[in-house]
C-alpha cells in the first residue's frame, strides 16, 4: 500500500494486479469456508451458551447479552469504552471543530424539537429495558448520539453538548464509574468487577447509566469533529509547528498562551 492519497487523487491500481488479487483472495475465501465448515463440525456445539444461561440468575439481569456485557465480560466493555474515548481524544487532538452549518430552516427546527426529545426518551427506555429485553447502554447511548447528530445538523455547533469542562466529565463518566465500582468492590474484598448478587442489578444499572451518557456524548462529540468551540479551541500558531525549539536556551519557552486572566 502506498501513501493514502487524498480523496481527490484517486489513482487506481492496475487492472492486472486487481484481478490477480481477486483470484488469490477468492482462493483464500474458499479455503476459509472449508476451514469454517470443519470448525463448525468440531463438536463444540453449545459453546458457552448453556453455561451463560445457567449462571444468568446470579448476574442481576435477565437479558443474557447484557449479562455477558456487564457481568461475565464486563472488563471487555470497560476497555471498549476506553477505546471509544481514545478515538474521541484523538479527534480532539487534531484540532478544533469546523464551524457549524448554517441555521436550519423552520421545518427542520420543528422536526428537531420533536425528534430529539423522542430520541432521548427512547434512549432512557432502552437503558432501563436492557436488563431483561433487547436494549442496554450501547443502544441507548447510540440514540443519544443520534440526537446529538440531529441537533448538530440543525445548526448547533456543539451538537447539544454542554461546554467543554462539563463535556469532559460526561465523556469520562462511563470509564470512571466503571473503574471506581470495580476498584470499590475490590477494596471490599469481592474482587475487581465481582458484583455481590444482591447488589448486582443496581451496580449494573449505575454503570450502564454512566456508560450511556458517555457513549452518547462521545458519539455526538465525534460527529462534531474536533475540540468543542470555546476559548480553548481557538487555533494558535503553535498548532501548526510541532518543532518549536522551546527548550533551546537561546529561545526561552513561549509564554503560556492562556487568554483568560
Amino acid at each position: 500500500m502506498s501513501a493514502p492519497a487524498g480523496l481527490d487523487r484517486a489513482t487506481e491500481r492496475s487492472r492486472d494486479l486487481r484481478l490477480l488479487l481477486a483470484v488469490l483472495l477468492t482462493l483464500l475465501g474458499v479455503a476459509l469456508t472449508l476451514v469454517y465448515l470443519i470448525a463448525l463440525n468440531a463438536g463444540a456445539a453449545p459453546r458457552l451458551a448453556d453455561l451463560a444461561y445457567e449462571r444468568l440468575p446470579s448476574t442481576g439481569v435477565q437479558n443474557p447479552v447484557t449479562a455477558v456485557l456487564l457481568n461475565y465480560r464486563a472488563y471487555d466493555t470497560l476497555m471498549e469504552l476506553a477505546v471509544l474515548l481514545a478515538a474521541l481524544l484523538g479527534i480532539w487532538a487534531l484540532g478544533p471543530a469546523p464551524p457549524g452549518f448554517q441555521r436550519s430552516g423552520a421545518v427542520l427546527a420543528a422536526m428537531v424539537s420533536w425528534v430529539v426529545p423522542l430520541l432521548i426518551v427512547t434512549g432512557g427506555y432502552m437503558l432501563w429495558v436492557g436488563g431483561y429485553a433487547p436494549g442496554g447502554a450501547f443502544q441507548a447511548g447510540a440514540l443519544l448520539g443520534a440526537a446529538g447528530v440531529i441537533v448538530r445538523l440543525a445548526g448547533d455547533p456543539r451538537a447539544g453538548l454542554p461546554g467543554e469542562a462539563a463535556q469532559r466529565w460526561l465523556l469520562v463518566a462511563g470509564v470512571l464509574v466503571f473503574t471506581l465500582v470495580g476498584l470499590g468492590l475490590m477494596a471490599f474484598g469481592a474482587g475487581f468487577l465481582t458484583y455481590p448478587p444482591t447488589l448486582a442489578k443496581w451496580l449494573i444499572l449505575l454503570i450502564e447509566a454512566a456508560a450511556t451518557v458517555a457513549i452518547g456524548a462521545a458519539l455526538a462529540a465525534a460527529y462534531v469533529g474536533g475540540r468543542p468551540p470555546g476559548p480553548d479551541a481557538r487555533p494558535t500558531a503553535e498548532d501548526e509547528d510541532a518543532l518549536t525549539p522551546a527548550q533551546t536556551p537561546a529561545n526561552p519557552p513561549a509564554p503560556p498562551l492562556d487568554p483568560r486572566p
Partner: protein, 492 residues
Amino acid sequence: MSDAALTHPLVLCIALPLLGAMLVTALPRWSVRLGILAAVATAAAAVALAATVWQQGTLHLMLGGWDRQLAIALRADGIATALVLMANLVALGISVYASGYFHDRVRVRSFWPLWLLLWAGLNGLFLAGDLFNLYVMLELLGIAAAALGALTGNRDAVAANLRYLLVGLLGSISYLLGVALLYTAYGTLDLGLLAAGIADSPQLLAVNAAAMTLMVAGLALKAALFPLHFWLPPAHANAPAPVSAALSALVVKAVFYLILRLWLDLFWPITGMAAAMLPALLGAVAIVWGSWRALRAERLKLLAAYSTVAQIGYLFLFLPLLAATPPGPARDDLLAALLLMAVTHGFAKAGFFLAAGLVQTNAGHDRIDDLGGTAQRLPATTFAIALSGSALIGLPPSGSFIGKWLLMQSAIATGQWWWVIVVTTGSLLASAYVFRVLSRAFGLEPTPMRFITDARAEVPALTLALVSVAVLGLASGPVWTLLGLSAAGVGA
C-alpha cells in the same frame, strides 16, 4: 484464590492508568501533575506485581469470579511480568521526559490522557489471558498510538499515522477472524483452555493452522515484520519524541509478545521447524534491510525507526531455534535470551528516541549530517545515544550482547549456522549507523561546560540507556529466575 489480595497488583496495573486517564481528561488544567502521579502509581503497581510474581509464581485471576470458560482471565507469568516491568519503567521514564517536552497547552492536554490510555492498553495486553480481550487491547493500543503519533499535526505525521491506523485495523480484523474460528471449533476464548483444546485436537489441523495464520499474519502486520514494515518508519519518525519512544520501544514489542504467546503457548503443537522458518527468514531480511536503511537515513529519528524494523527481526530469529531445541536448560536459556533481548531493546530504543528528541528540540531539526554542534553541546544526551546505541548493536556489556551470545550459541549448537552470518552482518551495519551519528559529536565545537544541561529530559534518557547497558548486561540473572517461575506455573 484464598489470598485474593495477591492479585490486586494485576488489576491495579490496568485500573490505575485508566483512572489516571479519566482524571487528566476531566481536569485538563492539572494534566501534568495528575499524569505524573498516575505514572508513578502505575509503575509502583508494576513493581508490586513483579515482586509478587517473584515470590509467588504465576498469578491468575478470573475477573468477576465466574467459571473459567465464562470469565476473562488475567494472568502474570514470568514472560509477562518481565515485559510489564520493562514497559512500566520505560513508560515512567517517558512520562518524566514528556512532562517537560510539550509546551503548547493544547498538546499537553491531548498527550496525557491518550498516553495513559495507551499505557493501560499495554499492561492490559501483557496481562490478558483471553483472546477477545486481547483484541480489544490491540485496538486500544492501535487507536491511542495513532492518535498520539499524529499529535504534532504536521502533514507527514498525519499521513503516516493514518496509514498506521488503517494497517493496524486490518491486522486486528484478521486476528479477530482467527479468534472467531477458534471459538467456533473450541467454544472458549480462554488461552489456557484453548491451548489444551488445540493440543487434544490434532484432527482439527486445518482449523488450527488457518487460525494461526490469520492471527499471526495480522499481528506481524502490526509488529512490522518485513515486508509488512512499510508503515513503521514514517509513523515512528514523525511522532513527537516521547511518543516515538513509546511506539518503538513498547507498542511494537507488545505485539511481538502476543505473537510469541500464541506461538509458544497456544499453537505449539503446529509451530515446528517448518512453520518457524518463514518468520525467521523474514526476520533475517528485516535485520539486514532495516539496518541498511537506517544507515542510509538522513534523519536521526528515521534512523531509529528503521533500526526498530531490524530489532524486531532479531526476535523472530529465535523461533526456529526454539523449535529445534528440546525442552531443557538449553531451551530455557534461549527463551531467556529472547526475553532479555526484547527487554534490552525496549530500554535502549526508548533512551535513543528520547535523546534524539532532545537533539531535535535543541538543533531545531534532526538531519544527521548537520547535528555535530548540538551533539557536542549536550554531552549527557550524546552519552545516552552512545549507550543505547551500543545496546542496539549488541556490544558488551549490554543485555542484548548476552542475548546475541546465546542466540549464536544456539544457532551453532543446532546446526543453523546461517543465522550467525545474519547476526554478524546486522551487528556490523548497526555499528555503522550508530557510529555515523556518534562521529558527529567529535568536532571542533566549543567545549560544553557541564555534563547535564536539562535534567528533566536528559536524566530519563540517560537512565533508560544505562539500564539497557549496565544493569541488563551485567545482571541478567533475574530474567532466568522469572522464567523459572513461569515454568513452575505451567507445571502446577
